[in-house]
Amino acid sequence: MTHSEGDGGVSGPSLMFAATPLNTRNHRLQWLFRALFGLMTLILVVPVGIIFGVLLVRGGPAISFEFLFSYPSDGMTAGGIWPALVGTIWLVAVSLVASVPVGVAAAIYLSEYASDSWLTRGINLAIINLAGVPSIVHALFGVGAFVIFAGFGTSILAASLTLAVMTLPLVIVATRESLQAVPMAFREACWNMGATRWQTIRTVVLPNAISGILTGVILSVSRTAGETAPIMFTGAAFFFPFLPTSVFDQTMAMAMHLFVISTAVPGAPDELKYGTALTLITLVLLMNAGSIWFRSYLRGKKKW
């Protein structure tokens, strides 16, 4: 940079634009922070890149039509992952059906209806705490509440409900944040027209919060598909060579299957493990991509 050019006894205007020491300092700081933030972003991306690279290289060759669509064989040291794949889709779907309506409704209540009292503050605190509960504790809760007390047995239903309880805070927090991002002026304008709270929520608030709500759903899909502990005792089977026919069946699941062949099956080829991991990540990415597409579709239709 040649800030000093204009200093050499030239005419007035160029002096006026010469950098003062403060300008120079600000420029340097600006450059420094930009570099720093860029570096942090890079650090963030590196592990993701490595994980994908390794999985692609080592698991890629294992992926085949047969791998995806056939049953495990030879004591799970060969064959495919079809029942686990199907099982994971079941678990994600059933747990979304349980967690999204409850989470969204609770968030709407907390954000749009509840007044700011010690009770709502307590509820908000409870939600944050729920997010911090270790997944194995959720698993034990699931065993007690769904498997035994509700009498669902070890089943897709019990496992999915356990997962739903675990992902509820994600859905609630994301929904609440996106509801609160809708300008207050929109609500006031509606209320002034004589709209009830529900009319306001339906016509103005929800349509504008939907993309944020979907972000919460995306996060919870990833979390649901990847968790092992909560389903271990509640519905995921070690080896269950059938496709589930109802929510009361047990099922295999990808994350559980990966855990099992990595720790409990001597002689399972690495290729199989990497292939399973790659399929799991790809499945989650596909589900996310679907929601992201849907979100941008909704965003394209709006708004302010």
């Binding site: 209320w191 002034n192 004589g194 709209a195 016509t203």
Partner: protein, 254 residues
């Protein structure tokens, strides 16, 4: 003016935000078919006053109101169905609020909320309200465009059209011209003069001259108190009861 013409009677109105008094002991009458101007510096309680008229204080947690407000012979604190009350009172805010809906839906929202579903009836309301708000010619070919994409001045006229779509008997305007250019302001002012043949208008304004142009009577608020209320022309010609009113009108304040 005859006594029976009173559209809105306010007596001993006090407004508190927590323990802070925003308005104290305000009593005034607003007559049918007049434009009632309210002027006063920032923080004098003008907006709080408007908010109480359609009971928006119910939606604000720390806001308490006492005193009586009688609208069309009904004490509004005793009205159970506040939604019906709010539908009869249109409100326009200082900054335009183009709801993230199409132009058409912005104006059709209030009628729809009150249960009108018939497409041709809605079409007619939308056209009529946009015409009355002097916006129809500019938007009639693109009613399906988002209202929030219009310019600031257009959005404010859209807001007025939306307020009119409720078919209100009372229109509250809170410094409507802040984000509007002078030409549009004049057009809206002309609209208001026509509207007062049909409805009653309360106009809060920071522009003293706007009150002079439009208001039949004007009230001067200062520090949460009503200093005085009188015929606008009389006030501006110096017939004031309180010295401070004249100072404010002539810009010799503070």
């Amino acid at each position: 003016m005859v006594v029976t013409d009173v559209k809105l009677a306010v007596r001993d109105l006090n407004i508190l935000y927590g323990s802070q008094q925003a308005l104290s002991g305000v009593s005034l009458d607003v007559h049918e078919h007049e434009i009632f101007g309210i002027i006063g510096p920032a923080g004098s309680g003008k907006t709080s006053f408007l908010r109480t008229l359609n009971r928006m204080e119910m939606l604000q947690e720390n806001m308490t109101v006492d005193g009586s407000i009688v609208f069309d012979g009904h004490d509004i604190s005793e009205i159970k169905n506040v939604y019906a009350l709010r539908r009869r009172i249109g409100v326009v805010f200082p900054l335009p609020v183009g709801l993230p809906l199409s132009i058409y839906d912005n104006v059709a929202l209030a009628p729809r909320l009150s249960g009108i579903k018939d497409k041709s009836a809605l079409d007619e309301i939308v056209e009529q309200c946009l015409m009355r708000a002097a916006l129809w010619d500019e938007v009639k070919d693109r009613l399906d465009v988002l209202g929030s994409l219009l310019s600031g001045g257009q959005q404010q006229r859209l807001t007025i059209a939306r307020a009119l779509s409720q078919d209100p008997e009372l229109l509250l305007l809170d410094e409507f011209s802040i984000a509007v250019d002078p030409v549009t302001t004049m057009r809206i002012e002309d609209v208001l003069k026509e509207l007062k043949e049909e409805i009653t208008i309360i106009l809060v304004t920071n522009l003293v001259q706007q009150a002079r142009r439009l208001a039949d009577r004007t009230a001067f608020f200062l520090d949460g108190k009503l200093i005085e209320v009188g015929e606008t022309e009389a006030l501006f010609s110096g017939e004031v009861k309180d010295r401070r009113t004249l100072d404010y009108l002539e810009g010799r304040f503070g």
